[in-house]
Every structure is written in C-alpha cells, then in structure tokens.
C-alpha cells in the first residue's frame, strides 16, 4: 500500500513538470521559482532541525560501548569502539559516518529446528549503502560544475577519477579488440544501481518489507527517478550542457534568466525531482545525515567514572534518608548489634 502510494506520488512528480513545461510553458516556475524555494526550504529546514537537536540536552552519558573500556593500565583499551578521549570519539565518528562501521558488523540470524540459532556474516547492506552514499556524493560534486565558474580544481579531479573508471573497464569487443565499456562504473550509474539494490532488498526481505512505510519507499523511488532522468539526459538526449549551465549560473548569481535556447523537458523533470528531494529532506528520515553526528550513543566519550557528566535538568527528588531508616528500625538494629546514630 505505502509502496503504491509512493510510486504514484513519484509519478505525479514526474508528470507535473512535464505538463507544466510542455503544455503550459511554465518554464520560469520550474526552472527558477521551484529550485529557489526548494533550496530555501532545505537550508532553513535542515538548520532548524539540527539546531533543535543540538540544543536539546544530553542528560546522561550513554555511549553504547562496543569494545573494551579504559580500565587498569595493563588492559588494552579498544579506543575506536569504546572511546576514552575526544580524539578517540572523533575516530569512532569518522568510522561511523564515513565507513558505516556499525553496519559493517551486521550479521544474519539463521534459525534451524533443533533449535539451532546460527549467525552468518551479512555485509550486503553495508556494501549497497556505501556504494549508494558515495556515488551520490560524487554525483553531487560533479554537479558543482554547473554552479561554479571556473570549475574548481578539486571538482575536476573528482570528475577525472570518475571518468577514468568510466573508460577504464575494458570488455572484449566484437572483433576481439578491447573497447571501453562506458557507463558501467560511472557514479550516476552506480547510484542508480545501488538505489535499485536497496530498493530490491526492501522488497525481497520479508521483515524489511514489513517495516517499510511511505517514508522509506518514496525517497528511494525519487532518487531512482532522479538518477534515471539524469542518465537519460546525459547519454540519450545529450542535453546541451552549455545552455543548462547558463541557467544554473544565473541562478547562482541570483540573476535568474531563462536561456534563449530551449532546454529539453527532461531537464525540467530532473530539476523538479531534485528540488522536491531538497524540500522534502528536512521533513524526512533523510535527516539521518544530520542525526548521525548527534547520536548520544556514538558521539560521547565513555569516561563517566573518571569525569562527572552534568545533567542540566538533574531533577529534585525525595530521598529516604538514613535518619528516617534508623527511626523505622532502631530497636531491631540495636538488638542485632548493628551500630546506630541515636540510642533508643
């Protein structure tokens, strides 16, 4: 149900600019107004949520410890999985955010009659996830070409590396010669492939399908469609990059101007979907991008025996004091030879 709903939603999102641009000629709306609005929503929304999180208190120091703590000096500490200092936390967070450390631990439980519970290694999610996020990053970086003039060196380097892989995969050609296989290892295509794999995983694994809601299907489908429209523009329609750049640069310069030469409707679909993704971002689970940095089970030093952690709202509570206790049991205590503060 939530899947069909998401599919319909994404389809509508494709149709809106299609009709808007080809029938109603709302190029200004889709080329200028929507992207601006989307970027504004993204920036405001993301800042709002991140500020809200970072302003909320962390009453207790609750890292999930995944290795040996710092203890007696002759016992080896597992600094990265149980950080005992700020640099160690930074190391842990680096592994977590950039290499998906925790996902790398993933196992798969197998249940056999007997009962026998066994655990297999299961790195697929880690691999798909890593591919997905890194290819997404490369795609984003490569798109900076459209928003910078001159194109910064580092963007060009990323592009180069990416293109190198594009050309670098040799395949036997029809007459025994090796020809480059274009596309296969190019970031946009990897992105599409990885998103599709994540999607299939969600469909195929019964438990994951069971927990999925629209908020899971929709962004995946949206990204799949974005990747598809991008690939079609680049490799099939071969949209005129120079014209597109005229538009995008005018947006960056805050002097929006629709170029005189026409741009394919596919471009408008692409940019509309991207805009929607940006605007949707702060309201969705995609905020894990920000949240992962703020997760108290990962980003805190595990040193609460060594250094007192302060709870800003440490509550006032009623205690049962020793004096009250002794009042309740004084006689029995004396009889049992337990020392008391006040003799009866």
């Amino acid at each position: 149900m939530s899947f069909i709903f998401s599919l319909v939603a994404v389809t509508v999102l494709v149709l809106v600019p299609l009709v808007g641009v080809t029938v109603a000629d709302l190029r200004w709306l889709f080329g200028v107004v929507v992207p601006y609005a989307a970027v504004a929503t993204f920036l405001i929304g993301v800042s709002y949520r991140v500020l809200k999180w970072s302003n909320s208190p962390v009453p207790f120091r609750i890292p999930t410890t995944c290795g040996q703590a710092k203890g007696l000096p002759w016992i080896k500490t597992n600094k990265l999985d149980n950080p005992c200092s700020l640099p160690a936390v930074i190391g842990r967070m680096f592994l977590e955010v950039f290499l998906f450390r925790s996902l790398f631990r993933n196992t798969r439980m197998e249940y056999h009659q007997g009962p026998k519970v066994r655990y297999g290694s299961s790195k697929w999610l880690w691999l798909f996830g890593l591919l997905f996020h890194y290819s997404f990053l490369v795609v984003l970086i490569r798109h900076l070409r459209f928003f910078t003039e001159p194109v910064p060196m580092w963007v060009q380097i990323v592009e180069h590396i990416d293109t190198f892989f594009e050309m670098g995969l040799p395949l036997p050609g029809p007459d025994g010669l090796y020809v480059g296989l274009p596309l296969l290892a190019q970031s946009g295509v990897i992105l599409l492939a990885a998103a599709t794999l994540l999607f299939l995983r969600r469909v195929v694994i019964a438990q994951v399908r069971y927990i999925s809601i629209a908020g899971d299907w929709f962004p995946l489908l949206l990204i799949i469609f974005i990747a598809k429209t991008g690939i079609i523009m680049r490799y099939v329609l071969k949209v005129d990059v120079v014209t597109v750049k005229k538009l995008t640069m005018s947006l960056v310069a805050l002097k929006p101007e629709l170029p005189a030469d026409p741009i394919s409707f596919m471009f408008y679909i692409h940019i509309f979907l991207v805009s929607f993704l940006f605007a949707y971002f702060p309201f969705s689970k995609l905020m894990h991008l920000g949240g992962v940095w703020l997760s108290p089970t990962r980003n805190l030093v595990n040193n609460s025996r060594e250094k007192r952690h302060i709870n800003p709202w440490n509550p006032e509570v009623k205690f049962h004091t020793y004096a009250e206790y002794e009042d309740d049991f004084r006689e029995q205590m004396i009889e049992a030879g337990i020392p008391v503060e006040k003799e009866a």
Binding site: V58, P59, T64, G67, S102, G291, S295, T297, F319
Partner: protein, 562 residues
Amino acid sequence: MATQTPKPQEIAKGLSHQPPSENWMDTKPEFRSGMYCHPVKVASLEGMGGAFAREWNPTEADWKLPADWKGIVKDGLKDRLRRFRSFQVFMDICVRCGACADKCHFFIGTGDPKNMPVLRAELIRSIYRGEFRTAGKILGKLAGGRKLTEEVIKEWFYYFFQCTECRRCSVFCPYGIDTAEITIIAREILNLLGLQIDWIGTPVNACYHVGNHLGLKPHTFKENIEYLLGDIEENVGITIEPSFNRKGAEILFVTPSGDVFADPGIFTCMSYLILFEYLGLDYTWSTYASEGGNFGFFTSNETMKRLNYKMYAESKRLGVKWILGGECGHMWRVVHQYMDTMNGPADHLEVPRSPITGTVFENAKSTKMVHVTEFTADLIKNGKLNLDKSRNDHYTVTWHDSCNTSRGFGFLEEPRYVLRNVVNNFYEMPDQTIREQTFCCGSGSGLNAGENLEQRFRGGLPRANAVQFVHEKHGVNMLANICAIDRAALKPLMDYWVPAVNVCGLSELVANALVIPGEKAARSTNLRGEEINDLREEAGLEPIEWPEEDEEGGEAGEEGEE
C-alpha cells in the same frame, strides 16, 4: 503458576520469523499467561508516591486508565522529547534499514515482528508521527502515523515489558539508535498512567523504604549473611566476622541483595566474604545501602536517582574512603553511566586505592567506586592471591558477558583475565554471541519474575543456544558471569534448554581456587557443600590431597546444600 510452560521442543518447533500478512498496525498482542508480568501492587506503587495506583488486569478490556490519559501521554512524550536528545534524535532518524531486526533475543525467541527493535521503536514513533508531525497526521498509516488509542497503550505495555534494555540492537544500528533508551522512556510514560509491573514496582518500594529488593530488614539482612558465614565455616573451615554499618572503615562494600539469599548468588557472596577475609580488607557492609541493584532504572530516571542516592549518602555517613561494588550488570550500568551525574559529585570520598597493591584506580577517580572484578584482576596481576586453578578442573567454563557491563560499560577483559587465572578449561561461545554482541539472559530490566517464564525462556533462547554449542563441542558444564540477575535467571534457563550446564558468579571460581593459609580438611568440599573429589572423579580427574584434619577442625564433607 497458572498455565504450564511449553516444552522446549514445542517452542522450538513453533518458531517462525516470517512476518504475517496483515499490517502491524492491525495486529494486537495477546496477553497469554507466561508471556507477560503481573501489574504492580497498589501498596508498592503508592509507597513510592506513584500516580494512579489501582487494581487492574492486563487480560481485561478495561485497564481503568485515568480520565485524561491521552493528555498525560502526549504531554509526557513532549516533555521527554524536549529533555532527552537521544529520544528526539532516535524518533527522527531511523531509516528502517532493518539491520537491528534480527538482533533482538526476543525476536529470535518469539518470531513476533513487534519484537524487532525497529518495530518496537515504531510502536512509539508511529504515535510521534501521527500526533505531532504533519505528514503523519494527514497521511496516517501510509506515512507510518497513527492515533493514540487505548489499544496502543496496551501494546506498549506488552512490548516495552518484553524488552530487556540490553542494547544489542544499538550495536548494529548505523546511527546507534538504542531501542533500550526508547524502552526506558516508554516505561516512564507508562508509569505516568500507573502502568508498572509488580516485579519492578515491589522491589523498588522495598529498596527505597527498607534498603533492598526483598525488604530484608537490618537484622534479617545481617542474619542472612551470618547464615552464609556458617556455611563458610563448615565448608571452608574459616571463621569470618564481617562488620555492618561500621563507621571509619576504609571501604564500603555494596552488592546486589540477590547474592545474600538466592542460590547460586549466595556462593558468590560467600566468595566475597572469603576473599576480603583473606586480604584482611578494612571494609563494612551496610544494611541501609544494602542493595547494589537498582530497579528504579527500569521505571524512571527519578526513581533510579532516589534509590541510588543511598550509596553515596551512606559512604558519607560512615566516612569511608571509597566504595567497592559487587558483581552485577545493571547496577554497574547505573554506577558507570548515571550515578555520578545524578547524585555526585562524591567529594567526600577519595580516589580509590587498593590497600593491598597500592594501585590507584584512576579510571574511577570521579565516581570513586571500583568493581570487585577489576579489584581482583589487580590483585592477581600483582601476585597477591595464591591461586591453584587446578581446583576448578572439574569445571569446563564458558563466559557470559552481561549486557549492561558489555554495552553500557565495556567491561570485557577484566573478567576474562580473572577467569583465565582461576580455571584451566575456558572456552568462548561463538563470536556473535559474546562481548559487545553478547545475548541477554532474557530476564533483564526487571523481567525476571515468576509468572512470565515462557517469555523469559524464549528470550533466553539465543544465549542458551550458544551455551549448548560449547557444551556439545567442548563439554562446557559451567556458565560463569558477573551479574546477580544472570545468576538468578540463567540457572532456570539452563535447566530448561541445556540442563547439563550449571551457573556461577566469577568470584565463586576465584574462591574455589584460592589457597587459604592454614586451610583445613573442610576445604575438601566446595562452597556448595559438594565433595570436590567426587566432582573430580566424575570428570575423570585425580583426587586432590587435602591437608589433614587438625584437632579443632570440624567434620569435613557434610552434605549441606541440595
């Protein structure tokens, strides 16, 4: 108990991890005897000043919720979203990747999809969306949102008291989402409606007013320990006179009260007494702070604080220098991650220094509380204990890492170091079931009641199964641990799934191996009153030559325990 617990084979056969066809929002839990805990007694809840104490029964339709229950829950949620970053972030960022799904022992043991940590969290996240977030309000179920109804509250009660707050899910989550944290907060909210289980509520009340879970009054607490001293005298041949509430002692010793009265915890307790006597430690017990465990942790952070207060207060009153803590799981999570924050700073204490080895425990320089196992490890490292580990040769031991000390502390090597120094035969369970990936006993977080045995045995299946693996492979016959709940819970769990395996605290193995100066023939029985040479014979080992009985020595080898 009411109904019969199903046989292990019945549970094993009926287990499937395939989710049903209906959407989870359309299914309801069935309150089946053996699978849930009894509601808290009115007096216990009232004793702690808890709200809406009343008689009610989970199997009945009417839970007698307070008139404005909905408002209370919504305000409770809002308040906690504001006060706990963990809760707010965890509500917002789960991507439902499912990495945590098959990590929960309750899911593995029941196949109930709502025991997948992600879905357990969604039980509350769906309300967060449906009541507080626009998309969820408009799109409802499609966007994973739903409205707060009485059915939801019942579901919460069922599933948040079917989570042992073990944090195993958190280890695998790419964002560290800790369903235990969500359970902790869900239980706080259920508490606002007077919904609490008796096995938590009643010990909490006893602990608060009397000092320990069972409500052992000062003299009874002392008598209990004296009873253990009698056993020590009989089985080890040494006479010990510990002190209680003694001012001016160097160290205050606090351990979970379970060790003072329940088998096999009592053997751990006897071991502490023996070890401290061996060392000539200047320490005292306290009848006021006679509970190391803290079931308040399983109700609300305020209750946890109210109970925990006694440790520092008593250490101050008695004027001790530092606190030594016994073997316990959740107690050490509280001591490690909460105590100083809640009831510190403990400026009246000194940075702990072992009077025997001179080691200063820098790692505990703020809480000023040391774990008996690190204390022991330090003793061994410095050669202060005369240990004959062959005395444990009839045991083939495996090590159970307790959830709290593993994932809420990182106390993994200290016990292993001690263990390797007191036993010859030690085999680890498979990697995916130990250390930070360890499996819960199935009875943590206050679920070790008597009426929910099926729930506990199901939850304990992954742990028991890993024990079975090493039992079959290496002949493991002893499951050692450093947790009072484990000692109480793993024994019946083993009897159920792997009957040939026994359970003990780590300190018991230390005491077994300890060569006590002038020890007598009485030493030929272990703390459990068993003839050691009989056990060795069973294991095909040479008997030990015990010293001759001297004229004063008592009769050795009398059967004490069953």
